[in-house]
Amino acid sequence: MNSTFEVVIYIFLFFGLFFEIFLLLTFFEPEAKQRRMKKPNKHFPTVAAIVPCYNEEETIAKTVESLVALEYPQDKLTIVLVDDGSTDRTGRIIDSYGSFPHIKIIHKENGGKHTALNAGIRATETEFVAILDADSFVSRDALKEIMAHFDHERVGAVIAAFSIWNPRSLLEKLQQTEYLLAIAFRHVLSAVNGLSVTPGPLSIFRRQVFEELGTFVPAHDSEDMEMALRMQKAKWHIANAPHARVYTKAPESIAKLIRQRTRWMTGYMRNGFDYREMYGNPHYGALGMLVLPFSTFAILGTIVIFTLTVAQTGKWLWNFFQNALVVPLSFTFHVPSFNFDWFFLPLNTMILLGILAIGILCIRLCAGALLSNTKPSVGMGVVWYLPFYGIVAPIWTIRALRDVVFGIRRSWR
């Protein structure tokens, strides 16, 4: 094997393993333990749940129903449905909830998600503001679970544990695997205040944050990341409620998944550039010293390893065809008889460490499922997770990098 390829793989494998071990160690820290042991409290502050909608006729009703079913005193909860100039039946659907005393409906011209969120914030005066995407559904106890984590005056936002709504296809199960891994990841990072995003499927903010830092801005179509970085910069804490379950609709085709992730990735790159002074800056603790540099390192690793793998595969294919040309085709495609022989077992350092890294990843997956009490429903999604993301993640990463370098702006949908 090409030695450059091996060295590069070893470097990324080492730091990948290092990061996974860091997560595992932090998982057992008292701070993380205390967070996952937290019980809902009896005090119910006022909350406004804002749902920005743009052409969400397929899911908005279910989203609203899930909010209405929340186990939270009705006089303390206001649901704000903001129609951001939808051109489908979304407006009519949300109007049908007009009779609910605690539901406010706003219709406005299309201006982008951040304008819809800000309209909702302005229309309410509650102590806390919840942001919920119109394709996500909350579990009945999610709000109670989340509110228990505002246990310190500098906790400015709390995010929930997200998983895929009713994963049935292989693609949905693959994303479910990814989301379960992310549950444990976010839980651990919150213990060191290392969260860099307040995701749309459900994040709750202290109103004081908006009063102090301002409301949402366009932020390269990633207002959730920009707000998190703005908060971290101002020394607000972002916590995670691992037992607060929220289900979100997954993109149902690979093309849609790539489109969604390209948007997330360009948002990360552009916002990361805007907040570049936080990278490697000890003033921002684990976020500045570890999380942000590692996210960039992971992006770099994805691109480098993918490029080298493509080059190696190309070389292998070239040799394969060269060899196929010099012998009869029947020999090229004959299946050799298999006799087990330990001598030929591919037990080298890379494989051994790779197995170890996958083992730790499996622990993280189980931890995610247990923490959020989510039925894994991943099936073959676990088996195909690494091969699938190993191929498609570089596609959206490279695509995003190209968009950032050449200033390409893509529409949301």
Binding site: F14, L17, F18, F19, I21, F22, L25, T26, E29, E31, V192, G194, G285, A286, M289, L290, N319, Q322, N323, L325, V326, V327, P328, F331, F343, F344, L347, N348, T349, L352, L353, L356
Partner: protein, 227 residues
């Protein structure tokens, strides 16, 4: 010290230890592989020496006795595939690999000479192919040539193929190269005493091979021929 900073340090130490353990384990496994290679080589060396001694002691050694030792060639093939795997894993510049390759080449030469004697005594007409290659980047077609020989070996089990690294530093190999007047134009083939340089596919080698003497893999193997 902040918990996250302590965990960063701990994680770094653990990752380094795990990496070290991974390399150590991998080395242990490679040592086991090398030990097995040495073991096979010793066994083949002893078998060849035993056969040669019998030859020298008893001029009347029967072809039946030789048949019992004909398992040697398959042992050499087993050794070849293991050596190739190890060379690929450890690299062609690894000193252990080089030493094993030198011994392997000597065994091949001894087997080649012995089989020539056996052929003369038992009136056999086996087909010998000496194949010279290089791993030093001066032979573009060597990988393809190796693939062709794998095909030929599997198709014609009676074919006796001996592969030699042209640049290996052993006196016996240098002599073999000199005796056969092989130029450093690789890959080079010596088929029944004649040197060929521009053979780069199975078809052109098959044209040179005396196919009438070679049965394909579905036919009885050399053991039968030697009877």
């Amino acid at each position: 010290m902040k918990p996250y900073f302590r965990n960063i340090l701990l994680a770094f130490i653990i990752a380094t230890l795990l990496f070290g353990t991974g390399f150590w384990l991998s080395n242990q496994i490679n040592d086991l592989r090398l030990a097995e290679l040495r073991n096979i080589q010793d066994r083949i060396g002893t078998d060849i020496l035993s056969l040669e001694t019998q030859f020298d002691l008893l001029e009347s050694l029967s072809c039946q006795n030789i048949r019992e030792n004909s398992v040697l060639s398959s042992e050499l093939n087993t050794l070849a595939s293991r050596l190739a795997y190890t060379e690929n894993a450890l690299g062609s510049q690894n000193e252990e690999v080089k030493a094993l390759k030198r011994q392997y080449s000597l065994l091949e030469i001894k087997d080649y000479l012995l089989m020539q004697k056996v052929s003369g005594k038992c009136g056999l007409k086996p087909v010998f192919v000496l194949y010279f290659y290089s791993n030093e980047g001066d032979c573009n077609k060597c990988e393809t040539a190796g693939h062709v020989l794998t095909y030929l070996r599997e198709t014609y089990p009676q074919l006796r193929v001996y592969s030699f690294d042209y640049h290996l530093d052993i006196g016996a190999l240098k002599t073999l190269i000199t005796v056969n007047k092989i130029e450093p134009r690789l890959p080079a083939f010596v088929i029944n005493g004649t040197v060929h340089y521009d053979l780069d596919d199975a078809e052109s080698i098959e044209k040179i091979l005396p196919l009438d003497k070679l049965a394909t893999s579905s036919a009885p193997s050399i053991e039968k021929e030697l009877l």
